[in-house]
């Protein structure tokens, strides 16, 4: 099984997405680095789910439309996207920036969603919690800061990067800045509306996340009524890459609970 590339027409622009497998829909919302690095983690899910992996507007192969100015525009684009694909009962897994977008979508309209898994998700004020500065880090720093294991970082840095991948990385970084530079990775109004996340929600964090430390995750989970909070050990900001087996277990368990009636989230 592999993914098929498709496009959806959204508000005069297009959003590109990968789709594979069949079963209940599992919508993966990628982080600032883009969707590509999460594909090895996502591929096994195609055995049991219809897995949908969009490139956010302005990321990867999706154009940067004139209407995209902030995180709210991204969220509304996804409400259009959910309608365009007529997704119902979608299990959403969002990492980092994608977790933030997932929250912004779900506080607006959760009717097409069955569960939320928020992995190292941004979106709330850090307050006194010290965070990393993705925009001050060099491309090499970004890898070294975002994963816990130095040996693992070395392996990632040793992978060759094509010119096309470098260009996508540059675009992704631009659009990340557009959505998250100021305020830095949060929406000042988001906390007022987190009670609207009335669907089975779990929050998952790496114990060695240096971008948004684990206290940030604990704070986010505490603000979402009924959300569970799980820490993955020996893991930085990218559990889908660094501890993908553990994250897979957690997603499958959460989806199973949600399918059984969302009792676990109550």
């Amino acid at each position: 099984m592999n993914f098929t590339l498709r496009d959806a027409a959204i508000n005069g622009s297009t959003m590109s997405y990968r789709e594979g497998g069949s079963g209940p829909p599992l919508l993966f919302l990628h982080g600032a680095g883009g969707a590509e690095s999460a594909l090895p983690f996502l591929l096994p899910f195609t055995d049991r789910f219809r897995v949908i992996v969009p490139d956010h507007p302005g990321f990867g192969r999706s154009p940067d439309p004139a209407w995209l100015d902030n995180i709210h525009d991204a969220a509304y684009a996804y409400l259009d996207f959910l309608e365009a694909l007529d997704l119902r009962g979608a299990h959403v897994v969002g990492t980092s920036l994608g977790g933030w977008i997932a929250i912004e979508i779900a506080i607006r309209d959760r009717t097409r969603l069955a569960s939320l898994t928020l992995v190292a998700a941004a979106g709330i004020r850090p307050g006194d919690i010290p965070t990393g500065d993705l925009f001050m880090w060099s491309p090499e720093d970004r890898v070294r800061q975002l994963v816990a294991s130095a040996a693992f970082a070395d392996r990632i840095l040793a992978l060759p990067q094509t010119a096309a991948q470098a260009e996508v990385a540059l675009r992704n970084h631009f659009t990340t800045a557009k959505l998250a530079w100021e305020p830095r990775f949060f929406d000042p109004n988001l906390e007022k509306w987190l009670h609207r996340l009335a669907l089975p929600t779990q929050v998952i964090w790496g114990d060695q996340d240096r971008l948004f430390p684990v206290e940030y995750g604990r704070k986010l989970a505490a603000l979402i009524p009924g959300a569970s909070f799980t820490v993955i050990e020996d893991c930085g900001h990218l559990p889908q890459i660094e501890q993908s087996d553990r994250l897979t277990e957690l997603v499958l368990a959460h989806v199973a609970r949600a399918a059984a009636g969302g009792a676990a989230a109550a």
Binding site: F135, M136, W137, S138, E167, L170, R171, H173, F174, T176, A177, K178, W181, E182, R184
Partner: protein
Amino acid sequence: MKFTLFHLMPYADLDLIGSAAYPTAWVHTPNTFYDPKRGARLYNRYLDELELGEALGFDGIAVNEHHSTAYGMMPSPIVMASALARRTTTAKIAILGSAIPLRDHPLTLAEEHSMIDNITEGRLISGFVRGIGAEYHAWGTNPVFSHERFHEAHDLIIAAWTRPGPFRWSSKHYHFEYVNLWPRPYQQPHPPIWVPSQGSSETIEWTAHPDRKYTYLQTFSPLKSVRRYLEQYRETAARHGYTASDDRLGWAVPIYVAESDEVARREAKLHFENFRNRFLKMPIEMLLPPGYSSLESMKGIAKAKAQITGDVTLEIAVEMGMFFCGSAATVREQIAAAWQDMRVGHLLAMLQFGTLPAELTERNMRLFCAEVMPALRALTADQERAAA
């Protein structure tokens, strides 16, 4: 050619040993390195230097804006221009420039520039810049919207200066129910506008556009680049069907004059290299945050990044024509040759740089004004007359 004394007002008393723990003097170096007593002396010294510039014959004196850095102590050039407004009588006061996208309320700048223009009875030259990349880290403004905000803030300020108020303003980033600028500028329709830049294509095209025809200033760059960017301005003008006059082009360059080439290099070396390799240097992520330049320009810029992130010695800077350093005769000949080649209407001489102390700065200024400036004035005036 006209002469403007350009000052960065660095925090020259920076503890260079202690602060070496930080890779750059921008954004991250703690402000505990700033000693207010030393800073106060420096502010007054630098203002004295600019005032002396008028007495020595400069046509203009210039200040600028940088934030959270030892590179320059002028987060508000407005304050410095105001301090100079009542202490000078003939020189133009050039704000080069105000970083207009950094203000959430650009009308404050329209007001402040207009006030200075009134107080000086029309001696203000307004400069508009986006601010270098580091300012977007220091100030929090989203660099992705830097160009949009620059253009909108510019349009708003010009409208406020020229349109009878009150009127409504609504653009993507700025919304005002009542724009009604008191005071209106002294110079009509508005003060001249100069646009300093490091050579961004977008900026050159915008500045040379027939709707504006603003004066473009190339700042601290190798001579070859200065030539190329000034040429790009002329080509843009030609493409729009007009000839850009020399006074639409300016060039800001550090200069050091002493009794001989050898003495000049010996005296300037440490201070120039502190300017370039301690005060100016910053990582590429700070210089070019995402979105600050277009994706297209960013692809090309990666190649040039060593120019700002690596070190440059005095010898290399002199070789590349980024710095004129030598006897009066040497500096005179080099600038004359560059002028013959480029026909630049404004020379912005930076006669204090880095840690250059007061005595050497003053001697540099006096030598430049006595032994370099008059010959260049005569040469360029003759040829400008001949060309006219």
